[in-house]
């Protein structure tokens, strides 16, 4: 008895302390945003008072998960949780309350819940259960379909609630799949698609194609370990392609040239790819990588051309404008870009050490909307300065890194996979949210884990973390 009780000292206190520090720090910052003269931080008629209640609930829940609920419970509970979450999401669609253009709240008594937050835990539990089965491999088609269905169902429902931000967070699960053996190419190609899309719009289709060709050449040669040759060929073709538009701009050439530069490049690169695709298919059928690389190149070129066409010809002005503001192409400090601009101002005004607790003018004068929820990082940046912001970043990096390291060492696949799910979920939230407040990401409304006002998110993240701590602790004990 005595020995067992002492063993709780072996819990991962790094995680627990970091978590508690973030939660309490979030609470005082919410107070700073919303307080008025002479108000008390425990006043439960105010949001900061309510948040304190949610903190108590979360700590209690965490305590129960670690001390009371056996670790084995979660694996058997995962399907019930998943099914429950799906039902709850559906119910929200029917019964939910609309706010800020999305219908994602459900009212229970005086509490408002956001089922999308809890669906992340349920999905993580179910995913871990499926993937930790003995002999599970992502090379098997039926497994791939199972995993895809598992992830896509809640994503579709959340999308119907118009909670675009929460859907984005599911990308985190892709990284878990990568850790469990999914080909890295899938994520890389996804990343390339986004890159090419952005390049096509913010620079030009030509630049997008040239960058694409450069990446293709580098990967193609590096894969065959011909590093020097690869660098040389890439550099040379980049220089040549760089001069090509200049050549077309010469009056004499322009007079007879019927096509813009990107069409020339598309036609030539397209013809070359088709030639090699046929060649690798017919004569060197075993060299699948080379063939696939050229197929990707061909698709990439077609993709750039279709993005250009779609953006210029199909989209209507206001839709184009949304994308432009999204990508920071047009300044719109009063419209869509308003939040972003105000948020950057608030953070920027903090300087090195910040204006001090309760002294942020941007924060308390209400210039930044949604300050206590999605834009809580502004208050931290303004009142605690660069030092405070960096400390928060360090705490997040500690939590995420610690979970990844512990999960990777875990004896049970279930613990490992669940750990990665938790870490990636937190990481995606942090990167998107902070990235948004400092203008690195488009404005997407998702909370900052442990810090933002909002009981659902706080409880969901805390429960997630607590389950992992429990699973990891339990795994070590055996």
């Amino acid at each position: 008895m005595n020995g067992r009780r002492n063993s709780y000292r072996n819990l991962d206190w790094t995680l627990i302390v970091s978590w508690l520090v973030l939660v309490l720090f979030g609470w005082i910052n919410i107070y700073s945003v919303l307080h008025t003269e002479g108000s008390i931080i425990f006043d439960i008629s105010q949001k900061y008072g309510m948040h304190f209640i949610w903190i108590c609930i979360s700590v209690t829940a965490a305590f129960f998960i670690i001390r009371v609920i056996p670790a084995g419970f979660w694996q058997s509970f995962s399907w019930i949780a998943y099914g429950g979450a799906i039902l709850l999401l559906m119910a929200t669609l029917v019964l939910g309350i609309s706010s800020h253009g999305s219908q994602s709240w459900i009212q229970i008594g005086s509490f408002r819940l956001q089922p999308a937050e809890f669906s992340k835990i349920a999905t993580a539990l179910a995913l871990s259960t499926v993937m930790s089965k003995y002999g599970f491999t992502l090379k098997n088609m039926s497994n791939i379909l199972k995993v895809a269905a598992l992830l896509l169902l809640p994503m579709a429902l959340i999308l119907l609630e118009k909670e675009t931000g929460s859907v984005l967070v599911y990308i985190g699960f892709l990284i878990v799949l990568y850790r469990e053996g999914m080909s890295g190419w899938i994520i890389s190609i996804g990343f390339l698609i986004v890159l090419e899309f952005i390049l096509t719009i913010i620079t030009s289709p030509y630049v997008a194609m040239v960058v694409g060709i450069g990446i293709f050449l580098l990967i193609y040669f590096f894969k065959e370990d011909r590093y020097l040759l690869g660098l040389l060929v890439t550099a040379l073709s980049m220089v040549l392609l760089g001069f090509f538009p200049k050549l077309l701009a010469i009056d004499a050439v322009a007079a007879v040239n019927p096509f813009p530069a990107e069409i020339w490049v598309a036609v030539i690169a397209g013809a070359v790819s088709i030639f090699f695709i046929l060649r690798f298919t017919i004569r060197f059928a075993r060299r699948k990588f080379e063939r696939n690389a050229f197929i990707v190149l061909l698709c990439g070129i077609l993709f750039v051309l279709s993005v250009q066409f779609f953006y210029n010809k199909v989209l209507q002005d206001h839709q184009r404008n949304r994308i432009d503001v999204f990508l920071g192409l047009v300044d719109d400090p009063k419209g869509i870009g308003y939040n972003l601009n105000q948020s950057k101002i608030a953070i920027g005004s903090g300087g090195m050490f910040g204006k001090g607790f309760l002294n942020g003018t941007q924060t308390s004068l209400g210039y930044v909307p949604e300050q206590e929820t999605d834009f809580i990082f502004c208050t931290i940046g303004e009142e605690w300065g660069f030092v405070g912001a960096l400390l928060v970043l360090a705490l997040y990096l500690t939590i995420i890194g610690r979970i990844v390291v512990l999960a990777d060492k875990a004896k049970f696949a279930y613990t490992r996979i669940f750990g990665y799910c938790v870490a990636m979920c937190i990481a995606l939230h942090v990167v998107i949210n902070i990235g948004m407040t400092i203008g690195l990401m488009p404005v997407i409304g998702i909370p900052l884990p442990f810090l933002s006002y909002g009981g659902s998110a706080l409880l969901a993240f805390s429960v997630m973390l607590a389950i992992f701590i429990k699973l990891e602790f339990d795994g070590r004990k055996v």
Partner: protein, 616 residues
Amino acid sequence: MKFYLGRRNTILLVLFVIFAIIAVRLFTIQIIDKQYRETAGNNALKYVTIYPARGRILDRYGNTIVENKITYDIMVTPRQVSEFDTLAICEIFGLEPSFVQERFASYNANDRKIGFGSMPFLKQVSSEQYNAFAEKAFLFPGFDAVARTARVYPVNAGGNLIGYVSEVDRDYIEAHPEYRSGDYAGKTGLERAYEKRLSGEKGYTVYYRDARGRIKGRYEDGALDKEAVAGGDITTTIDAGLQAYGETLMRNKVGSVVAIEPSTGEILTLISSPGIDVSQLAEINKYYKEISENPYNPMFNRTVQSAQPPGSVFKLVNGLIGLQEGVLKRDTRYPCSRGYTFGKIHVGCHGHPSPINLPQSIAMSCNAYYCYVLRSIMDNRKYDNIEEAFNKWRDYVTSFGFGHKLGSDVPYELGGNVPTVNTYNKLHGKGRWKSLSIISLSIGQGELGCTPLHLANLCATIANRGWFYTPHMIKGDGRYPLDSAYTVRNYTMVDTTYFPLIVEGMNMSVYGDGGTSHVAQVPGVNMCGKTGTAQNPHGDDHSVFICFAPRDNPKIAVAAYIENGGFGATWAAPIASLIVEKYLNGEIADGTRKDLETRVKNGYLLNKVPVKKRKK
């Protein structure tokens, strides 16, 4: 084993790189880039606008026609308002308690939008009310007053000409992004045309606030403050006395009088009747409904916006074109037997001797004569067909300024209308019309539309014997020299050598036997004039008259257009000649001229004007 380690470390590495990028970005925003810190100041600082005084408007002799008085706008910062005595506020400003309640209800509804900003509570309160408020201001935390200026009009004349100033609305701000809600801008007349010069530059005082929005004092002792720059005065070409006199003549009549100094193109008076009374200009919003419901539409500046057929004064133009085309000589004689008849066409005329030559035709305003003239122009063998002849004629007419905007500085000028070949091709079919089909153009009827400004400009052109300066209301000075558009002589396509013949006819019209303009004789002045009687489908004929004087070195050219006034000699000629007399002699001669003045002033023509039912 190596495989798994590799993936874990890849993930950790990517994560670390992303966090590093975020940290670098934070470093740039918070430490390196000063831009965000300054803009942050913008929010925490409170800018209190100082509104500049608007420039004065002077007449051609330096008399003030528009100046300023100080009024106050009462502003309120809703978040700083605590309990206050509603009744006391109502008593000071003469308000209903319900007004105050409504205001605060709307502030509460927009609380998030307003934030710690100030909203206008009451606008343009008088100095007396302000003083009463200032004494008790401590009772009303959150309220304060901002000094503004309002317009005052020492001369009771020129409402339409001066135009009004009012608060900018959303549409105006969209078109002029440099304006902010609460600013004032000239909307019509001179106030609009010279808004840039008159408005001046706003200044501001910068205060800083603490995190609760309370003002803590001047920011850096006023280092960022900007002083307001008062608007510049403008000197106009208007003769305020003549303008006021003309308006008394035009009382109870609908129409326009435009007087121009021919040698400079300067507009001396610009009267649109009925007009907006200057006493209503300063508080245009209060009277806007009343003015816009007036059936005679005082808002409408007839001098540049009412395009109507010119009537017989247009014979001068046709005569000049005939002379230039070589189809008309001084001694070309045409018969008139109470009109012109050709087939089914009949253009009537009044009884006068026949046949007559060109100057006589002007003096007696013979309709038949100009039917012959127009036919000789249109059926000229020189041209292959009527379309070619017509196009040539049209070129001549537009060279006088007709059919397009003259380019004056009177806002909302219209171009009027001169028909084109297409007009008649549509009306009659291509190749199915001839000179007879357009015969009404000869006497200034038909599809012609000219504004009174066009007619005054025609008169100035004849007075100058063949050229005009684009009419304008602004005087040039060292700082703002006159726009080059107003300093270039515009020549018509008719040689200057032909104009004296027309002038001779206009002079005969006033003094010669059978002349139609005898009523325009002014003692001591050698007058030239031409009457016009414009038929129109809406009631009595319009009475038209243009004249200039003296015959040599003319000082003033006037066009008067009196709607439904009957013959040109009945109302337009007396009014125009009285304007000339007042301008050149300074006073109206005793005897018949005084009697004429009395008759004109007492004339009431409003009952003759058809009133269109206007949509509410």
